[in-house]
């Protein structure tokens, strides 16, 4: 079980209260109408599956119902950092 810090409630809560919402920082193409099928398809369907640091979105589903970002190590499951939507992560993998 994770014990996750919600940056909006300002305290740790049980994983039961949250839902994982997949990879964070996916930018919608600025002009979807002029995207190639490949670009649009990659935006919609293709996700990273790293071994190591992964930035992902979580939602505090039964709490404040707000989204936020989590940096998690997919090998150890350790949560390295929690930061709000719109903020930049301070923990990033080398080369990113």
């Amino acid at each position: 079980m994770f014990y996750i810090y919600c940056p909006h409630c300002g305290e740790h809560r049980e994983e039961e209260e949250f839902h994982a919402k997949g990879q964070a920082h996916i930018a919608r193409p600025a002009d979807p109408d002029s995207c190639s099928d490949k670009e649009w398809g990659e935006y919609l369907f293709f996700r990273k599956n790293p071994r190591g640091l992964h930035h992902e979105m979580w939602v505090h589903a039964t709490g404040c119902r707000k989204f936020f970002n989590v940096t998690r190590d997919t090998v150890t499951y350790e949560i390295k950092e929690v930061y709000k939507i719109g903020e930049r992560p301070s923990v990033v993998a080398a080369g990113n």
């Binding site: 909006h8 300002g10 039961e16 709490g63 404040c64």
Partner: protein, 226 residues
């Protein structure tokens, strides 16, 4: 599709958006209002049921529940709430304010739950709308939820069975309010006194929570108060 959500069209309709449909949801004398636990007939259980036990349950039914949403950066919104309510919306996370028969719970950084007597709900909503400025929303959700009050020396044990949240004194002082998992559903849990706790539950889960509470408090003895 992208044409329909063009921002300039939204801006052109900004004035129209200010005019929201609103109505007094209070049932008149001709309609019978029923709380979500009407079928449980708590009044009869209160009369005929046990008088002593470790947990006392009381439903505060047919109150006015208003969800207030707005940004804390919007001063016209916060000042308007203060003017209409007579006190500030609690901006400290997980806190609540109670004054007379009105109480406000912090739900999220931009969301509060105000509970007032049922017959005041529409008037309070109108006062808030008149006093507030900028971008905000007020929704009357009175019909969608109900309030249960649990009191007694063994309530904490019942809560421990029902929610993963830590209800120890050091983590849950009087006045704190938390929205968490409760018996596999969800509840807004507020501590209103040393041995007194309040649950705001959804209408559709009211029967389930009522059954759950009966089962969870059976070992301590459940007293129903009318």
């Amino acid at each position: 599709m992208s044409e329909m959500i063009a921002p300039e069209k939204v801006a052109a309709n900004a004035d129209a958006i200010q005019e929201v449909a609103r109505m007094d949801q209070l049932a008149g004398p001709a309609q019978r209002a029923e709380s979500p636990l009407h079928h449980a007939d708590l009044d009869t259980i209160a009369k005929k049921g046990p008088k002593n036990g470790g947990v006392t349950l009381q439903e505060h039914k047919l109150l006015g529940h208003l969800v207030i949403r707005g940004s804390q950066d919007n001063q016209a919104f916060l000042a308007g709430a203060r003017e209409a309510l007579g006190f500030d919306l609690p901006t400290e996370p997980l806190s609540s304010v109670e004054q007379g028969d009105r109480s406000v719970r912090w739900i999220a950084p931009d969301e509060w739950l105000l509970i007032v007597p049922g017959e005041d709900a529409f008037q309070v909503e109108e006062q808030l709308r008149a006093a507030m400025g900028g971008h905000f929303a007020i929704v009357n959700v009175s019909g969608g939820q109900t309030v249960l009050e649990l009191s007694g020396p063994d309530v904490r044990m019942v809560l421990k069975k029902s929610t993963p949240y830590d209800v120890h004194d050091r983590n849950f002082p009087v006045g704190k309010v938390v929205t968490s998992v409760f018996a596999k559903t969800q509840a807004v849990i507020r501590r209103t006194g040393e041995d007194r706790w309040e649950l705001v539950i959804r209408r559709s889960f009211a029967d389930y929570v009522w059954l759950w509470l009966q089962d969870a408090s059976a070992e301590f003895g459940l007293v129903v108060k009318a």
